[in-house]
Amino acid sequence: MPAQNNYPEIILSVDQINLSFGGVKALEDINFDIRKKEIFAIIGPNGAGKTSMLNVINGFYHPQHGEIRFKGLHRKQMRPHEAAVQGIARTFQNVALFKGMTTLNNIMSGRNLKMKSNIFWQALYYGPARKEEMENREVVEYIIDFLEIQSIRRTPVGKLPYGLQKRVELGRALAMEPDLLLLDEPMAGMNIEEKQDMCRFILDINEQFGTTIVLIEHDMSVVMDLSERMIVLDYGRKIAEGNPDEIRSNQKVIDAYLGVAHSN
């Protein structure tokens, strides 16, 4: 169990978010705050709107109402790459790696925003372009060591097993040096050892780099162990918020998971 949160400063606040697709409400009046350097979980049954919530945070979906404040900046509409510029990184439920590229290039692509040399130097692969390439390669090698994926550096990621792909995807997100890291089911489809590894990485990232982490996960034991606070979504609404103990004893949450609340 990580220590109780000592960082009350708020990095992201979600205010009255409403999102619908042609009449179908995906999210309704969602509010919550995420504190700096905490591990925060979003849980809920299938179709509760967890992934939609992440999509709203990093600008992929545009909510009809509501507002998001990230690092004190208000925003209503923004493109995903602007979210990336602000320091939000993300992994996906179904791995979204660049399948034709090697592990190394995938993680290097996460450094895209840190690289500035212009096209003329790039064409020559000399001077600033080469220097920049080497500097970023060092950072990427550090991440590769950190995630213990040295041996698959040159393998096209399409050929890697699922568990390793998830790890490479985490590496790509880390390469962006984000302030906020969104993880969409980082442990889905993994066996117990892989899950343990992944938990260790998540805790290390949080501790070593001080990255704030938002996590969606189905495995309750993992969520309860990892996260300091969480919200529970059901049918697009927030039904509970609090630390693991509060959530465990919340009657609404128990109902939602057992299906009592909707047994019409």
Partner: protein, 316 residues
């Protein structure tokens, strides 16, 4: 100012000033549009049933027409040549399924698209090797198609009988196909495949059969189009460039919509004739070659999914 008048005012005065001529231009465009619609229709059929963007549809038109005329040139009477051509189109559908599609199942769409470009080249080579490269004349008379013309308004408005026949035949073909799709067992299976390949497979529809059937139907539509088009101009592979105009038609109508293909074809056909006739001379003429593409391109900015297509919600 002069130029602005010529672009924005003069053409409309011309249209109102000579309404019969305007009508004639619209009719010409309409007739071409029907042929575009037919090609686009064959295309949509294949796209819906197999997800293949069939670049070869235009070539199939020429290939069918060429086979028919070529057989006739070699002494086969028209009433025998027609069934043989239909059989050739079946053989083509069968071979495409057996040798190309079957091996490329589950490949990315773009790979299948490029494969149909390969098929296009193969058919051009094959057609020309067998029947020679020189343009041929369609056997309109032998197929009992009318060839006179009807005039209205003291000979001011001239309608070719073959064009009228083409419109009627196209309409009948579309109705028959509509009935076929709605009423017969295979038609329903075809719609099932169009909705969801996997689900159709799981209820026992044979994908391979369906693919042969849709390619064959497209082949027959290609034959009809080829006859009509051949009656208006020569039969040669130069036609295939014109047949490519079915592509902007599809952009306009949406790749998966049969009404879209028909309406899109008529819009493009009429639009480019009017554009050519009233505006073309301002920039040197012959803008028909690219106008359709430009119309489609501009259209894409406003409605990327086409007139009748569905908006795609992307998920991650």
């Amino acid at each position: 100012m002069e130029i602005l008048t010529q672009i924005f005012i003069q053409p409309f005065f011309d249209m109102i000033g000579d309404p019969i001529l305007f009508l004639q231009v619209i009719w010409e465009g309409f007739v071409t549009g029907i042929l575009y619609s037919l090609i686009a229709f064959g295309f949509v059929l294949i796209f819906k049933a197999s997800g293949v963007f069939n670049f070869a549809q235009g070539i199939m038109v020429v290939f069918a027409a060429l086979t028919l005329v070529g057989l006739h040139e070699n002494g086969v009477p028209a009433y025998v040549a027609l069934p043989i051509t239909i059989f050739v189109m079946y053989a083509l559908a069968f071979s495409v399924e057996k040798f190309v599609l079957r091996s490329l199942v589950n490949q990315p769409d773009i790979i299948l698209f490029m494969a149909t470009i390969g098929i296009t080249y193969f058919l051009i080579g094959l057609g020309e090797s067998i029947f020679g490269g020189e343009p041929k004349v369609m056997i309109t008379e032998e197929l009992l198609l009318p060839y006179g013309s009807i005039t209205f308004f003291d000979d001011m408005l001239i309608l070719q009988e073959i064009d009228i026949a083409a419109s009627i035949i196209a309409a009948i073909s579309l109705i028959i196909l509509g009935l076929f799709m709605g009423k017969t067992r295979i038609g329903i299976a075809l719609r099932a495949v169009a909705d969801d390949h996997q689900a159709a497979l799981s209820v026992g529809v044979s994908l391979n059969t369906i693919w042969v059937v849709v390619w064959f139907i497209s082949g027959i539509i290609a034959l009809i189009t080829g006859i009509m088009w051949g009656a208006k101009s020569d039969v040669s592979f130069a036609l295939s460039i014109i047949a490519l105009k079915a592509l902007p038609v599809l952009i306009l109508g949406g790749f998966t919509s049969i009404p879209g293909a028909i309406v899109g074809g008529l819009i493009i056909g009429v639009g480019e004739k009017i554009g050519e006739f009233y505006w073309g001379h301002l920039v040197g003429g012959s803008i028909e070659g690219w106008l359709a593409y430009m119309i489609a391109l501009v259209f894409l900015f406003f409605r990327p999914q086409g007139l009748f297509g569905e908006k795609i919600i992307e998920r991650v």
